[in-house]
């Protein structure tokens, strides 16, 4: 995909496009597993905790089956050539997430904690099921109304504005809500929304559109210095802007995760668009400078770094590392095979056990085996996303797909790495698993978009019209 003269009407590229089978039946078969496994898990939790099959089993099974079935039919109808793995993977993760959230709802310790803190306890699982349905509805809407992802190119700059507004909304007094130190929530009509999750997708549209247009300028107009191609000063503008916005998020919203996610996503997309390694080096240097700079000023970030360096050190003194310490002990106590669903004590983590720290419950109750399986499920989603990007025939689609998959990969790394003590803790959610509407809804939309791009990419091309001129107008670049 090195041609810059492609227009949507010229299907000259041949990568993976001819004769791809639709694989819809494979998807259906996998979906059956994706529904049956969580249903068994649900029964398992009930048997372990109450000694009986939970009464909601049938409803839960039907609900999950219905969601999966609707998803499948819509894909069959509106994106018949799309990737067959993404939907089952998302459904499986969402189903398992629901089971674990329901399991944590049964925890007496968390119920008492909620009663002490808020005066009442309300289970999260029913809400999560509702959010999953809304998420699936958004997924359906994406597939039905977004006939071609390239339409989104038109909204490049509108996306930028929208993303910035979403990102900065939590800072607006009266709308933003400060929840345990991180200002990443807004409160609308009684609902809490984490706008960062949606901004993740919208800003990917902006980056893709922007970089598609500017990539040649960014790639070619550069000077060579110490083996690196350094961009011209004026081309540095965008990356410095994004860097500054990331730092603003970090400083004013105390949100290390979102900040890292945006900057990382931009660097990845910039690198893919320009094929210039120098951008990676510059990006790494800038994030290192930003991280060190902020860490030496913001006490919030400092505390998290301290807790990361020594998870049990501040136990007696401040309790600031209570959560991360508990989380690490959850993983350790699970061991290789885990305690079994419903039989661990991951609720010791406290109030964020079913959201930010939901992965620790998997660690304790499903053990190393379960953790590796979950990570591989995520790895498969990322892999299918990158593959979609590779297969996409238009640069916008390529950039969009890699942006979304890269952001997804970074998010997994940041969240799972955080709760496992690999990197300092950040307040982000594990896609599909964590309790919280924004995350589930936004990630279902993300899967929808990836399916749309992969459908376009894998759709058998009409017999290409012979167009020898197209091959001759390549831009020759120094290598």
């Amino acid at each position: 995909m090195s041609s810059t003269t492609n227009t949507p009407t010229h299907h000259t590229s041949t990568i993976g496009s001819i004769g791809t089978p639709s694989r819809r039946n494979t998807e259906l078969a996998l979906l059956v597993f994706a529904v049956v496994i969580p249903v068994f898990a649900y029964a398992n939790v009930g048997l372990a905790m109450e000694g009986s099959v939970p009464s909601g089993l049938l409803g839960y099974g039907l609900g999950l089956g219905l969601l999966a079935g609707v998803g499948h039919l819509v894909v069959r109808r509106f994106a018949p050539y799309s990737d067959p793995l993404l939907l089952p993977l998302a459904a499986l993760l969402n189903g398992l997430g629901l089971v674990v959230i329901w399991r944590l709802d049964q925890s007496e310790r968390l119920q008492q904690l909620a009663e002490r803190q808020y005066g009442s306890f309300s289970p999260s699982a029913p809400n999560q099921l509702l959010y999953s349905a809304v998420g699936l509805a958004l997924f359906v809407a994406v597939l039905v109304f977004l006939k071609d992802h390239r339409i989104l190119q038109r909204y490049t700059y509108i996306s930028m504005v929208a993303a910035l507004i979403l990102l900065l909304l939590p800072l607006v007094p009266g709308v933003g809500a400060d929840v345990f130190g991180a200002k990443i929530w807004i409160s609308v009509a009684g609902f809490s929304i984490q706008p960062g999750e949606f901004a993740k997708i919208i800003i990917a549209i902006f980056f893709s559109g922007y970089l598609m247009v500017k990539r040649d300028a960014l790639a070619l107009a550069s000077r060579r210095f110490m083996g690196l191609y350094l961009p011209r000063g004026r081309d540095l503008g965008p990356i410095i802007t994004i860097w500054a916005v990331s730092l603003l998020i970090l400083i004013f919203e105390n949100d290390l995760g979102t900040s890292l996610l945006f900057f990382g996503m931009f660097v990845i997309m910039l690198y893919v668009a320009t094929e210039r390694t120098s951008w990676i080096v510059i990006g790494l240097l800038m994030s290192a400078a930003g991280a060190v700079g902020v860490a030496s000023f913001a006490s919030h970030v400092q505390a998290r770094v301290d807790a990361w360096l020594d998870p049990f050190g501040c136990y007696e003194t401040s309790g600031a590392c209570e959560q991360i310490g508990q989380s690490i002990m959850s993983f350790g106590s699970g061991g290789v095979l885990g305690t079994g669903l419903g039989q661990g004590h991951s609720d010791l983590i406290g109030f964020a056990a079913n959201s930010d720290f939901v992965f620790s419950t998997f660690g304790e109750e499903l053990g190393l085996a379960g953790v590796m399986a979950m990570l591989l499920l995520y790895a498969l989603i990322i892999e299918r996303g990158v593959r979609t990007s590779l297969a996409a025939r238009d640069p916008f689609g390529k950039l969009f797909a890699i942006g979304l998959s890269g952001a997804f990969a970074l998010q997994i790394f940041v969240v799972a790495g955080g709760v496992m003590g690999l990197i300092p803790l950040t307040g982000m959610t594990m896609p599909f698993l964590a309790a919280g509407g924004s995350s589930v809804i936004a990630n279902w939309a993300l899967i929808g978009i990836l399916l749309r791009i992969s459908d376009t990419a894998r759709r058998p091309a009409p017999t290409p019209a012979s167009n020898p001129d197209a091959e001759m107008t390549q831009v020759v670049r120094p290598t």
């Binding site: 893919v272 061991g335 590796m372 990570l375 590779l390 799972a416």
Partner: protein, 491 residues
Amino acid sequence: MNKPLRRIAIFCGLLVLALLIRGNWLQYVQANALQDNEHNRRISIERYAQPRGDIIVDGKPITGSAETSGSDFKYKRTYKNGPMWAPVTGYASQAFGANQLESIEDGILTGNDDRLFFRNTLDMLTGEKKQGGNVVTTLNAAAQKAAYEGLKERGKGAVAAIEPSTGKILALASYPSYDPSSFAGNSTDKDSKAWQALQKKNNPDDPMLNRALRETYPPGSTFKVVTAAAALENGLYPDPDQPTKTPLPWTMPGTTTVLKNDGNHPCENASLRVALQWSCNTVFGKIGSDLGNDKMLEKAKDFGFTSEHFTPVRANASVFSEDMAPSEVALSSIGQFNTAATPLQMAMVASAVANDGRLMKPYMVDKLQAPNLDTIEQTDPEELSQPLSEENAQILQSMMETVVEEGTGTTARIPGVKVGGKTGTAQHGVDNSEKPYAWFISYAKLSDGSSPVAVAVVVEDEDADRGDISGGGLAAPIAKNVMEAVIGNRK
């Protein structure tokens, strides 16, 4: 654009790989360390998730378990007659951990011991709940009761009683004591307050101190039994009725200080028997300085001094020093100066004499039982040492019996039973400023020649002036009651 895409794919793969490696590190390599981390509440949750097994005396449990609510610990420990048994059981508290038997045999009591693994696996498969096993002790409830009640009447002190032929511990009492039930839970107002009130800094009586095993007292004249054994064994005075060459007054070698006797007794050139009967400091002080530090230390070690004993609850090491001047050896040999002994140690001395010179290793756990009452481990009696030949032991027995029949220990006489004993009053503190300790060590011998019990009693003396009589007056009646309780059990 595909080349950088492939690189990004590899990068994403590395991110996931890093997470996988971290997962393996946490959940495989470090799993055990994290499971046993001191901050890991799961350990206590697990420990109290099922009723704890019992500690058993005379076939009856002296512990129990009660279901609790409003806490993540399901069961808490209860104790029957807690203060009396505390020196045996120790405590198991949800908030403050466990000690002594509760801690040492925790694996059996919680059911987590590896030896219960097969059973636990079976239970898991059949859906049975995990259960804890039992610890069957060697103790004698009647003797323990006699010991504890006796101390309660007279004040601070401790009692240790042993079966001489096996080393089985029959009684282990300490007073003042505490009720482990009072802080077995984890409520902040009730249990924490009870715990705080029992701590030494808040309670000068230090009720949580196990005086029978962990406190070393100057043994006073009871140590003369060891000195007498040393004299017999080293051939210094082979005949107990032969006069010793002891002048009166006797000036300690290397000093101008005269060693005093308590009261006006026929101590000049007294025989060993008479010297023990009237507890002559001059005779035993001179024996000690004549034998010298090394021989005295060796004999004390034979009786178990200077090493810790694990019953399996640890008993402190008793003290007999080395590198002392002859005058200091003389003082040490009458149980003063640096000499210090636990009540258990002095009971061991009496039991070695009663058992014809053979000292058995003291122990308090008879066997460990699985939840289905199968025996997992049985403790067999073990010989620790032989501080006396059989002959000399019998000589020493006759001397100790003289003490009880017509000496300072007449208050310990039991009709129809031969009792051998030795009183003691240990002065301590600078210039004897503190209350002395009244000691009595003794054993009982039945008509068939068997000796069912040896006992050591120490009581803090309220009346400091009565000299050597206080051992006989305060401590001996308790020893007598304990011995009677054991003999009564036998009949």
